[in-house]
């Protein structure tokens, strides 16, 4: 078939296109992944016993806002990166820097005020060895869904798109993990939560060029 015939054929297939496809696709797949990740948490680990009271405290919400900010950065970057030639706005990088900066400030103040003997304990908590790994494990269903959604769209820069999908998955997974994890020290969150979420982004970046290729 020659190219002119192909064009005529394609034109026969013209139907109105709905707007908002990217957002709809990413939102539905991510929501499904989030449900799967929640179920995985409930099947695997107990909720923190003081969840009811913790929800009235600041440190629970600080953790929630911090992890959801990472997810937000991933999502805001993934939207343009799922389309051909999409560029990520510098504001997204700004949001990322703001979240990390605020948490670093809180961690510094907290450590400053703490008893010198307790500083290492504030940083390591009781679960530093498992925290990041569990966030990565809980991110698996989310990562599958965000990568599947991105693959079904048309990313042209596969590594950044994979990293954004990973960061979205990691941020939400960390928010889910916070329902179990009782740690509340800013230094702990800054170090181990960030490590888990960034590891998810790294895995996404590694997988991107392999699994996001579309035709």
């Amino acid at each position: 078939m020659n190219t002119d015939d192909l064009i005529a054929l394609l034109a026969q297939d013209t139907r109105p296109v709905r707007t908002g496809l990217v957002l709809r696709r990413l939102a539905t797949f991510t929501a499904a992944g989030l449900c799967a990740s929640l179920l995985l948490l409930l099947a695997w680990l107990p909720l923190r016993p003081d969840l009811q009271t913790a929800m009235h405290g600041a440190s629970f919400w600080m953790k929630a806002v911090y992890t959801l900010a990472f997810a937000g950065v991933g999502g805001l970057a993934l939207d343009p990166l799922s389309r051909p030639g999409g560029r990520v706005s510098m504001r997204v990088a700004g949001l990322f820097a703001l979240a990390v900066g605020l948490m670093a400030g809180a961690a510094a103040l907290d450590l400053w005020g703490a008893d010198p003997d307790r500083r290492v304990a504030r940083w390591l908590g009781d679960s530093s060895e498992v925290c990041s790994l569990r966030i990565v494990a809980l991110a698996v269903p989310l990562l599958i869904m965000t990568l599947t959604a991105t693959h079904s769209l048309a990313p042209t820069r596969l590594r950044p798109a994979g990293a954004a999908a990973g960061l979205l998955a990691g941020g939400l997974s960390a928010a889910v993990y916070a329902l179990h994890c009782p740690e509340g020290a800013p230094a702990f969150i800054l170090c181990w939560y960030s490590l888990g979420m960034l590891a998810c982004a790294g895995i996404g970046a590694l997988l991107g060029p392999v699994v996001l290729r579309w035709r």
Binding site: L9, L10, A11, P16, V17, L21, S82, P84, G85, R215
Partner: protein
């Protein structure tokens, strides 16, 4: 582009027809030695522009979007051709005759691929495309609703793309649909 997104088939055809020569120039410059392969890429890119047009952000300029798809297809083709070159070394590859470029010279002849579609889709494509029936006439002939004809047509195009993807086209074979 915007009118095409709204469902204006004539505008959509004009857009694709206007993009084709630009894409041909783009790929010809980068695939110099192989005009047939360049035309394949023109067709693949047009198909991708068509099937992915729902992802076009209406607030952004069009050409960067088109170029991003073209560049992606080009890199993809280089990747694949690297692999194919390796395979053909094993086969004891035959020499390829000289080719000149024009719109009829696509080596991966989509017409050949068309013959692999399910019979009903083939018949529909032939009637709509070759015999030039309108959607309504084709619908009547096949006892389908116009909507069903459109859906079938769309599925056929997707299937066609999947076949291009799997690279099942035999090169050198020349079959007219």
């Amino acid at each position: 582009m915007l009118a095409g997104l709204g469902g204006d088939a004539a505008a959509h055809a004009r857009l694709l027809a206007a993009l084709a020569p630009r894409l041909r120039a783009y790929f010809a410059r980068r695939m110099g030695a192989d005009p047939g392969a360049a035309e394949d890429l023109v067709q693949e890119t047009l198909l991708a522009i068509h099937l992915k047009r729902g992802l076009y952000d209406r607030t952004q300029p069009l050409m960067p979007w088109v170029l991003a798809i073209a560049r992606y297809k080009l890199v993809d083709a280089w990747r694949r051709s690297g692999r194919r070159r390796m395979e053909s070394l094993d086969d004891g590859a035959e020499l390829v005759a000289e080719e000149t470029a024009d719109a009829t010279m696509a080596r991966r002849d989509l017409g050949v691929l068309l013959t692999r579609l399910p019979r009903r889709q083939q018949a529909l494509l032939r009637d709509v495309r070759i015999e030039g029936l309108s959607m309504a006439e084709a619908a009547e002939r096949h006892g389908l609703s116009v909507a069903a004809v459109k859906v079938t047509l769309h599925r056929s195009l997707k299937a066609l793309q999947a076949m291009v993807d799997r690279g099942r086209s035999p090169s050198g074979e020349e079959v007219e649909p």
